[in-house]
């Protein structure tokens, strides 16, 4: 007997929408098994993971703060992945955005400034993220260098640059030698939306970005170009679309969105540059993009769900003394189940009964 994967003629549209939900359910079920194996009450642990982050307004605001960078980054990554451009380096572009935006905050520190500072920081952050993302794009189109490797390796370049800056030239002179920059002035902090929580303007920006991207993909010729290049590159050339120019465009957009997320995060939650500014948003956003089926609206929903696991993980650390690595396990399980569900969506599995003497073909 053997298992045979054969391609389905037409995969159901409904199952396409349902499959991420099945993946989530399977993740929660395996989580329950995992907690039980660790000697914890699965119901209680799952409640801390998945219910405590949505239990009150303060928690909901935190959720929005965590979901914002994930949504911003994953929408950009979706554009890349739809067009077969594998930008894996959003984490680095996030950091570079924080560095570029932070440069303005530090330069205006202690000098007369005004309400233009934070918008300027956002612009600089987008330029920084896009500039870093353009490196793999140009290498790919000019020299056929694999963008997966270059974009990934540039993450370490950006992280080490930030590390050096906050230990060296940008270290706060009055900061007791801690490796961190000065606290940003009020004008250089991300604009908050409420007085009792940390939700900020970044969440509104993310919602606008989601809507713009959804409109781009469904209604605009450029969106068609993105889908076509990913679907059938030769047909895209026949349509007269330039693959190189599109590669630059989507890398620039996704880099800019990651950079924007970086400066919003630094300006909104830390208020200064530190050696580490991200719990891995740039990498988690890859999961978000796929869980959201590379669809901007899907990214919004998936981003909120992944943000729940981040906050749930922190809460579990406090309430259950679970290591933060459990969060990583959850995220890994989720990506695994998403991809597995997709495989079953595209292929059907059959058990083929074969004669005993046959060796597998």
């Amino acid at each position: 007997m053997r298992l045979v994967l054969s391609k389905r003629e037409n995969s159901s549209r409904w199952m396409g929408l349902l499959s991420p939900l099945i993946a989530v359910a399977l993740t929660i079920a395996s989580g329950a098994v995992l907690f039980a194996a660790m000697g914890l009450d699965p119901a209680k642990a799952l409640a801390i993971y998945f219910l405590s982050p949505i239990s009150d307004t303060w928690a909901l605001q935190e959720l929005a703060v965590k979901a914002t960078p994930l949504v911003l980054i994953s929408v950009g990554l979706s554009l890349c992945y739809l067009s077969n451009n594998w930008n894996i380096g959003a984490e680095g572009q996030f950091v570079m955005g924080a560095i570029f935006g932070g440069a303005i905050a530090i330069a205006t520190h202690g000098v007369a400034n005004g309400p233009w500072v934070f918008p300027a920081m956002m612009l600089a952050g987008m330029i920084g993220g896009a500039a870093l993302a353009m490196i793999p794009a140009i290498l790919k189109t000019k020299l056929s260098v694999n963008e997966i490797l270059t974009s990934l390796m540039l993450v370490y370049v950006a992280e080490l640059l930030l590390d050096w800056l906050v230990r060296g030239p940008w270290r706060d002179p009055k900061g007791f030698n801690f490796p961190q920059s000065v606290m940003f002035e009020a004008e250089a902090q991300t604009i908050r939306l409420t007085s009792d929580g940390r939700i900020n303007i970044g969440t509104l920006i993310a919602l606008v970005v989601v809507m713009l991207a959804a409109f781009l993909l469904s209604r605009m010729l450029k969106g068609f170009e993105i889908r076509l290049v990913g679907e059938a590159p030769r047909a895209a050339r026949f349509a007269g679309f330039s693959q190189s120019r599109l590669t630059w465009t989507v890398f620039a957009i996704s880099g800019a969105l990651a950079g924007l997320a970086g400066i919003i995060e630094v300006g909104g939650t830390m208020g200064q540059l530190q050696p580490t500014i991200s719990p891995g948003y740039g990498f988690t956003a890859i999961i978000v993009a796929f869980l959201g089926r590379l669809n901007p609206i899907g990214c919004l929903i998936a981003g909120v769900f992944l943000a729940i696991t981040f906050i749930g993980g922190e809460n579990a650390q406090i309430a259950l003394r679970l290591p933060l690595d459990v969060t990583r396990v959850f995220q890994g399980l989720l990506l695994f189940f998403v991809l597995a569900c997709d495989a079953f969506l595209i292929y059907r599995v059959r058990l083929v009964r074969t004669a005993p003497q046959e060796q597998s073909a």
């Binding site: 054969s6 010729l221 068609f224 679907e231 059938a232 047909a235 026949f238 046959e358």
Partner: protein
């Protein structure tokens, strides 16, 4: 029926792929030493059946018998051990290896390459298939590559040789050579299963014919007792209307003029174009014949603008030098293009028909206003193409891959003909489509030319070009012969050009022996 025990007997073969029944209770009996034709349109189930006979696929039901003994073939290696050899339509050769190395790889033993080379020379001489065992495959023509495959089979002393559309890649002269070889193979008592849709060939060389339609055997007959028309009718299931076409010659100024076009192919094993001159006049169909792989893809890419030329003035379109311009500039000047590959080049398989209408028409059909796609507009265009070209489909706007080959081809040809182009360049317009769709497409091309458009048809199907072209040129090793009027043009003369005589010494590929 032969009274002797059949060499290979397939009974009640059923093979399903999902919902599609590719073979539906197929019976086939091949007698010893007989040349048996397997006839059918594309998609009739011929390839599925021979893959079962060669052990590549296992039937869902039914049985095979060899010499009257029931067998089950689980792999091609088992089939070869029994004495079944197969020459595929698409060769499985390593381009960078020599002829002898390729053959040695295919033989299951551990024979040294030098010994294989000696045997290879002996076999190839015995059957009139000259081959140099030391040459690398990439240097060889398609016809020579086919010889490798045939010799490779013959070296294993087959009792049944299966040939899948062997003449589709050959010139008329090479086809004659193949027939001579097959006569020798037959004389030695080896049976041949000959898969084709070329009816004249089948009538010439085959003793029996089994005709498949929609996965079922519709007839078994002696092809020599039938006419090509009666065979075609059995194959298609209805009478095929021939294209209405009388060759004409236009005296208008050419709409497309190509002067001394040379182009390096981006593909390392591609064919470079050198010094191509060509004129395409309004009102005429100009045909370009040639064996596959002689630069047709590169010529199409250069004319469409998918690859731009070195200088603008080598391609003059509507009086304007466009050699450096992209495909959409050329479309806006009135040109339209239909490439050879339907799925992946002419159309994106998983995108809807309206998206695929947008693909070719976004620069010319007014589908896009200030960056926004006019969705109702593209859908309306799909409806018009579907109605005008009889495209059969289920839902209103299905994915391109949901259409059958013939229906998708009608769509991709129709979406450009319907916008009344002043020039249509089409490559392999009826490759792999059913006879009904092919007839409709050919008639549409003729009608387009008669309405005053310039039409250029690049095709490997010589019969097709003789049916619809008004002038014809031949492409060989990236060079193009002068286009000649069809009146008085002999098939043999075209065949010689397809084989390269009359082109002078080749420079592009460095081929020194035929």
């Amino acid at each position: 029926m032969t009274t002797a025990t059949p060499l290979m007997l397939a009974s009640g073969i059923v093979k399903r792929f999902g919902a599609l029944v590719a073979n539906d209770s197929v019976d086939l009996a091949i007698g010893p030493g007989e040349v048996h034709a397997l006839l059918g349109e594309n998609g009739a189930g011929k390839s599925t059946l021979v893959k079962i006979l060669y052990g590549l696929l296992q039937p869902d039901a039914g049985s095979l018998a060899w010499d009257g003994r029931t067998i089950s073939l689980k792999s091609p290696a088992e089939a070869r051990r029994l004495g079944v050899g197969m020459v595929f339509q698409h060769f499985s050769l390593f381009e960078a290896l020599t002829v002898a190395e390729n053959v040695a790889l295919a033989l299951d033993g551990t024979e040294p390459v030098s010994a294989v080379a000696d045997r290879l020379v002996a076999v190839s001489e015995a059957y009139g298939l000259p081959l140099d065992p030391r040459r690398e495959v990439w240097r060889l023509s398609v016809g020579e590559r086919q010889r490798i495959e045939i010799v490779r089979c013959l070296m294993q002393h087959p009792r049944l040789l299966i040939l899948d559309e062997p003449t589709s890649v050959l010139t008329p002269q090479e086809t004659e050579g193949l027939f001579a070889t097959l006569a020798r193979v037959k004389a030695e008592g080896c049976a041949i299963l000959y898969i084709s849709h070329k009816l004249e060939e089948v009538r010439r060389i085959c003793d029996r014919a089994t005709i498949l339609r929609h996965g079922k055997v519709v007839a078994t007959c002696d092809p020599r007792q039938e006419s090509a028309a009666s065979l075609a009718q059995m194959m298609v299931g209805s009478k095929v209307t021939p294209t209405r076409h009388e060759p004409v010659l236009s005296d208008q100024a050419p709409f497309l003029r190509v002067q001394d076009l040379s182009l390096r192919s981006p593909d390392p094993h591609g064919t470079h174009l050198s010094g191509i001159d060509l004129e395409v006049r309004p009102g005429e169909i100009t045909g370009i014949a040639g064996v596959a792989g002689n630069g047709q893809d590169e010529l199409f890419a250069a004319l469409s603008g998918e690859i731009t030329a070195a200088r603008p003035e080598v391609i003059i379109l509507a009086g304007q030098p466009v050699g450096r311009d992209g495909i959409n500039t050329r479309r806006k000047l009135g040109a339209a293009f239909v490439p050879e590959e339907r799925l992946g080049h002419a159309a994106a398989p998983r995108l809807s028909l309206s998206d695929n209408a947008l693909l070719a028409g976004h620069a010319t059909n007014g589908f896009v206003r200030s960056g926004l796609v006019d969705k109702p507009g593209t859908l309306g265009w799909v409806d018009r193409v579907v109605a005008a070209f009889d495209v059969r489909k289920g839902p209103r706007d299905p994915a391109a891959s949901a259409l059958s080959g013939g229906n998708l081809q009608k769509f991709v040809v129709g979406r450009d003909i319907l916008r009344n182009p002043r020039l249509l360049i089409v490559s392999q317009p009826t490759w792999g489509v059913d006879a009904g769709a092919a007839a409709l497409i050919r008639q549409a091309l003729v009608d387009l030319a008669r309405s005053g458009a310039a039409v250029l048809v690049i095709s490997q199907d010589l019969d097709e070009l003789f049916e619809i072209a008004d002038r014809m040129a031949v492409i060989f090793h990236g060079r193009l012969s002068p286009a000649q009027p069809m009146a008085g043009l002999a098939r043999e003369a075209v065949g010689l050009l397809m084989g390269g005589s009359g082109f002078g010494p080749a420079e592009a590929r460095g081929r020194d022996a035929a």
